[in-house]
Every structure is written in C-alpha cells, then in structure tokens.
Amino acid sequence: MELNPNVPPSAGRGRRIATAIRRPRTQIWFLLPAVVLYGGFFILPTLASYWLAMYDWSGLGPLGDFIGFDNFRRVFEDQEFRRAALHNLWIFIALFVMTNTVSLFLAVLLDRKSWMRGPYRAIIFLPYILSPVVTGFIFEVLLSPNIGIVNPALDAIGLGSLQHTWLADPRTALPVIIIALAWQWNALATVIFMAGLQNVPPEMREAAITDGASPLGVFRHVTLPYLAPAFTVVNVLLAIFAFRAFDLVYVIGGAIGAPNGATLVMGTVIYGNAFGKGSFLDVTTRMSYAMAQGIVLFVILGLVAALLLVYLSRRERRVH
C-alpha cells in the first residue's frame, strides 16, 4: 500500500479507520441471518425461560403470580426429580466406564489394517445413525415378553434360566436402558478414538518396539498420551449425552418411568411437568416449574462438563 505524501500519517490513519467503519463488510451480511436466527430462536427463549421460571405458570393462558425462586427451591425438595437425577448419574457412570474401556478397545481393534475394517466400522457406526426413538423401539420389541426374541433366544441356546421380564423388573429396567444408550453412544465414542489414533506417529511406536517395549507398554506409554485430546472430547460429550438423555428413555419407560419410576430421568420429568404425563385428565402442566427444572439441569450439566473439561485439559497438558 502506498501512502499519499501530502497527507500526514496520523490523518491517514484516522481516514483509514473511518473508511473501514463505513465500508460495508461482506462477512457481516453472511453472518447476520445465522446470528438473528440463533439469537431469536435460542438465546432469547433461553433468557426468557429464566424469567418465566419465576412465575406460577401452567404454560397455557395468562402468566400466573410472580413467585421468585420458589420453583427452584421446590426442585431441590422434589423426590421424583432427585431420583431421576440419580438415574442420570448412574447412566453417566456406566457409560463412562464402558466408553473408556469397550469403545477404546474397539477403536484400537479397528485401527489395525484389515480388509474387514470398512464393514466393521460401518457396523459399529450404524447405531449412531438411527434415531434414539427407533433405538428405543428396537430394544422394547427385542425384550418384550409378548413378541420379543431375547427370551426365546436364551431358551433356544440352553440359557432358559436367564429368561426374564427385563423391562418390567425395576432392578433390570434401568440397566437395559443403559445398554441401549451405550449401544448408541459407543458408535460416536469409537469413531472419535479412532480419529485420535490417527494422530499417533507410527515412528514413535516403532521406536518403542525397537527399544523392547511390550505391546501393552507401547499402548500405555505411547498411544494413550496421544489420545488425551480424544479422551477430553469423548468424555465431555458423554456427560452431555448422559444428563440430557430423553427420547430413548421415554420410549422404553414412558412418561411415568415404568415400572414404578425406575426409569425416570431428568428429561422425562421435565417433559411431564411441561406438557403433562399422559392422557385421561392428567392435563396438569407446570411449565414454569419445568423451566426451573430445566435450568437446574443446565447448571448440573454445565458443572459436570466444566469439571471434566478442566481435569482432562490439565491431563492433556501433563502428558504432552
């Protein structure tokens, strides 16, 4: 860029700034629709929900009385919500263990060169493509005592003593849901781990092997440190997945978390309060209370995700 010799440098800078402000910026116009849509359909309703959670409002008709933080206080006293939150916690713990063992193991297996690698990858990833609602139906049908094939299959292979009414027993209903969620979640976790494995330089492995490291030693001291970023991503996403679980759980356990609330999660409780739990006059909706529960869920989720992020990021820095 050439400067006009007749204009002092300070004046030129001022003009350039003024021109820059006046100049239409193409990128702003490209961003504007997304910003307007995101602001209008996400940011504003989210902010409004904080305000509406302080009312006694059913969700239909005019706003009720302003009750301040009363809804939030009730959330913490609500046995049903606490029980549901505990179920979410169980889901998270179970999936955390499964992800960091089974999914990781599958990723390592699929990272090996094999002519079957493509089909295996497709099979592993398939559940993630399915809608959670469909996954829920699949498990419900498989385990149905009336039309399911799991019990007859167990009987056919001589394991008839293991036949069970899986979804009707409060002790097994939640574990079944965890298995269904794990089946779906495993797909994404495995793919992320596989992407992480691509970052491990082959020469590092080869050097370790040359130095006499065992395969387990190579995995522990070479592969795992390189997977640290993948662990961070997988486990933070897992926390969100586990605490936001709703559709699959709703299909299997219904609005009241059958049997006897054994499959309630925070999502189903919030939905039930917002839109009613079912038919036959159970039309009581408590939208403001549901919003308060949603905000509490948001805070819990934010805290868990933040803690995980801080811990795993530190670990990432340590191993690198």
Partner: protein, 443 residues
C-alpha cells in the same frame, strides 16, 4: 479424462450432421409442434365447455372447500371416523375435515405442546373434566351460544360443555367401562360370568391352570390399573358411596374399601407376563388377539379390538361387587370438541362441532364406536356388544376423573406403580389416591 456431457457421441454426431445439428441438439419450435399444442388447448377448452354444469359446480366447490383440522385420540377409530367425516363432507360440500390421530396415552401432552406453540387444530378435542373449563378461562376456545344444539345432548354430556352461562362445544361419544371377556375361551373352559370377587378369582385360577393368561393388565402408563381400581372401589361403594366419597363422608382408606387395591394385588399372578412394562395399546392388542381372556375396557375400545382382529368374539360384563349384589360400570365422555379461538376457519369449525350431536353421526357412533351422546339414539339391531355394554352396569358410576372432587385420582394412581413392585401395599395405594381427593359438600 473429462468429457463434456453436452457433447454428442460419435454415432449421434454423424446422424446429426445428416439432419442438421440444430434440429437434434436444440429444441426446435416446429410448425407441427405448435399445431399440436394449439390443438391440445382447444380440446381442453371444448371439454371444459362440454362438462355438465353440476360437475363444474362440484369442481369449483371442491377448489373452494375450506379444510378444517382436528385431532383424534384413538388411532384405532380411524375407519369409523372416516365414515363420520365422509357423511359430514357430503352434507357440507364446502368443508373438508382433516383428522390427525395421536396415541391415547400421549394425546394430552401432544395437544398441550401444540397449543403452547400456537399450532393447535381448528377443532380441539378436550378430555373430559376440567380441561375445557381451563381452556375457556384462558380464552383458547370460543363460546358457541345458540350454535350448538345442547338440548339434544344427554345430561352428562351437557354438563361438560355448558358452564359459566355459555355453551362451548359438544362431545361425540360417551364410553362405559367394564370387563371384556373372550367368549370362545369362557365357553371352552366352562366359565360363567363371575358375580362376585371369589368367582372372579376362581375363574382366573381356572384359566391359568388351563394355560390361558387370564388378564391383560398393561401397567406401563397405569391407565388400565386405574380403571380396574375405580371399578373395584365403585363396586364396594356403589353410587351412594361414591357421592359420599366426593362429599368427604367416606374414604378410600377405610378397611372395607382398601380391599379394592388388595384385589388388584391378589390377581397379580394372573396378569400377562411383564405387565408392568406393557403399554395400554399393546395390552389391548394382546386381548384382541385372544392371548388373554379378560381386559378392563370401555365401549369405545371395541372398535379397536375389531381393527386388530376382525374376527374378535368378545362379550362384556360389569365389575362384580365383593358379595355379589351388583355389577358396576363407570361411564365417562370421550373428547369434548370446541372451536380454537386462533382458528382461521371458526365458522366452518363451528358447523362441524354443532353437527356432531346430530342423528347421522350419532347413529354411526351407536352402531360402531361407543355410546351416543344424543338423546334417543340407541344401537341398531345386530350390535350385541354395544347393547351388552349398556346393560352391563347396574349401577353405573361416573368415571372418577370426570368430577372435580375426584379429578386428581388418575394423576395420583399413575404414581402408584409401586403396588405392582412391592413398594406399596394396598393401604398405601389407597392412601395415595385418597390424598388427591378434594371433597366438597356440594357434590
């Protein structure tokens, strides 16, 4: 190597050269083509001119027809509802009705979600009870004074839609709930209709011994267990006792009435396998297929059984009382239809709602669906099950959630799933439901 897709291939190029490239690769406006087009237009015009006047009117009316929307809460009624809508559309050529069906158990949640999002149908069907009153209070529906002939509604239906000095809509049908049974199964094992609880238990035991699942008791959504409980409790209380319950003079926690919940526990061994996680719809299908011998069901369910199994051969009886002095049924109303205040077609929607209680749709209801809500309409000859249902209840008690004092009992019962898992005993279940009752001296 890439190839221009528009470029002609070698053989075609040679032919094209023979005929002239323009003719082949550019669409030419030839004289013959133009003549064909003009001819087509003329022919269409001639045909239109030759179309009889009535057909043209029909086409014009069809194109002008206003489509109104409504929702149904019984997908299994689709066939009969289509018949009713057809009759309406024939008698009202300017209006088309589009019915969308939602599963019974999800109906209210779906409706509430749609209304909250401003996407409700033109004609809104409310489950009986207080929901239509709340909607009127919230100005979600419009008053239909003088437009709906409420005088021809049976008193129970009128009480639902006439309040606060206005008429708000009309129901389509009422339903009576009793015990459906498989006639061939009862006949095969020599079982007579039980007249008391001891016989009911004995029949269940006999069926199970014969390898038949006695009861379908889908409890995932607690709909059928709720009806079982209110029938059993009503069989103890009777009409007078139910009124006293509403007035606060009697309680479900009385040892005599707790027996109703205990019966539900005592029969647990005779319910379908895994019943705690079986949905209402699946339970009905099990019974309709003849895989269980009995099911608590309403007159409105019969159409659904026939849809699942056109050869279904069932009968119905009222719930026996413990000592055998009476059979009890409970009766309620199905959806109460009203006009959405946000509808763009209020006049057409009002016409449809007003028509629902007229003779033509009510006779279809009586013969094929449920109990009619218009005075003087009865099932036609040859409709045995519908007639049996009417005869089953002596006495007939209002379905509990339809009256304000016991309106919360369904919601309470849905949290009582512990009765089937051992977490709640009979007294505990009765206490839970009793806690939801708001007695009133005016009842």
């Amino acid at each position: 190597m890439t190839q221009d897709p528009n470029r002609p291939r070698r053989g075609e190029r040679e032919k094209a050269e023979a005929r002239g490239v323009d003719e082949v690769f550019e669409r030419g406006f030839t004289r013959a083509g133009a003549l064909r087009g003009v001819g087509g237009v003329l022919a269409a015009g001639a045909l239109a001119g030759a179309t009889p006047a009535f057909a043209r009117d029909a086409i014009r009316v069809r194109s002008r027809a206003t489509t109104i929307t409504t929702w149904g809460n019984h997908p299994e009624w689709k066939g009969v509802m289509e018949k009713i809508v057809d009759v309406f559309e024939k008698s009202h050529p300017g209006i088309k009705v589009e019915v969308t069906y939602k599963p019974t158990a999800q109906y209210n949640a779906a409706l509430n979600a749609a209304l909250a999002g401003g996407a409700g149908p033109d004609v809104i069907g409310w489950n009986e009870g207080t929901s239509i009153r709340t909607a009127a209070k919230n100005k979600q529906i419009i008053a239909l004074d003088g437009k709906v002939p409420v005088g021809r509604l049976i008193p129970a239906a009128r009480a639902q839609v006439v309040f606060d000095g206005h008429s708000w809509g009309s129901a389509l049908d009422a339903y009576t709930v009793g015990i459906f049974y498989q006639r061939p199964i009862f006949k095969k094992y020599g079982i007579k209709i039980p007249t008391n609880w001891a016989q009911l238990i004995a029949a269940s035991k006999k069926l199970q011994a014969a390898g038949v699942t006695p009861w379908a008791m889908p409890a995932k959504d607690m709909i059928i267990p709720y009806f079982f409980y209110i029938l059993a409790a009503s069989s103890i209380l009777g009409q007078d006792g139910f009124r006293q319950l509403r007035q606060g003079k009697r309680k479900l926690t009385e040892p005599q009435v707790v027996r109703a919940a205990q019966l539900m526990i005592d029969l647990q061994d005779y319910y379908n396998e895994g019943f705690q996680a079986v949905s209402y719809a699946e339970g009905k299908a099990l019974f309709a297929q003849g895989r269980t011998a009995m099911l608590i069901g309403g007159s409105a369910d019969y159409a659904g059984y026939k849809q699942v199994n056109p050869k279904v051969n069932v009968g119905v009886f009222g719930f026996p009382s413990p000592s055998g002095n009476r059979h009890v049924t409970v009766t309620g109303l199905d959806l109460n239809y009203s006009v959405n205040s946000k509808s763009s077609h209020k006049a057409e929607a009002t016409t449809f709602v007003a028509w629902l209680s007229s003779r033509a749709p009510q006779q279809i209801v009586a013969n094929e669906l449920a109990r009619p809500i218009a005075i003087g309409v009865t099932p036609g000859p040859g409709h045995r099950v519908e007639s049996e249902m009417v005869a089953a209840g002596r006495p007939d008690v209002p379905v509990w959630y339809s009256v304000p004092e016991t309106g919360g009992t369904f919601g309470a019962a849905t949290t009582g799933g512990g009765i089937f898992t051992g977490d709640l005993d009979a007294a505990g279940f009765a206490k839970l439901v009793q806690a939801s009752i708001k007695p009133s001296s005016k009842a």
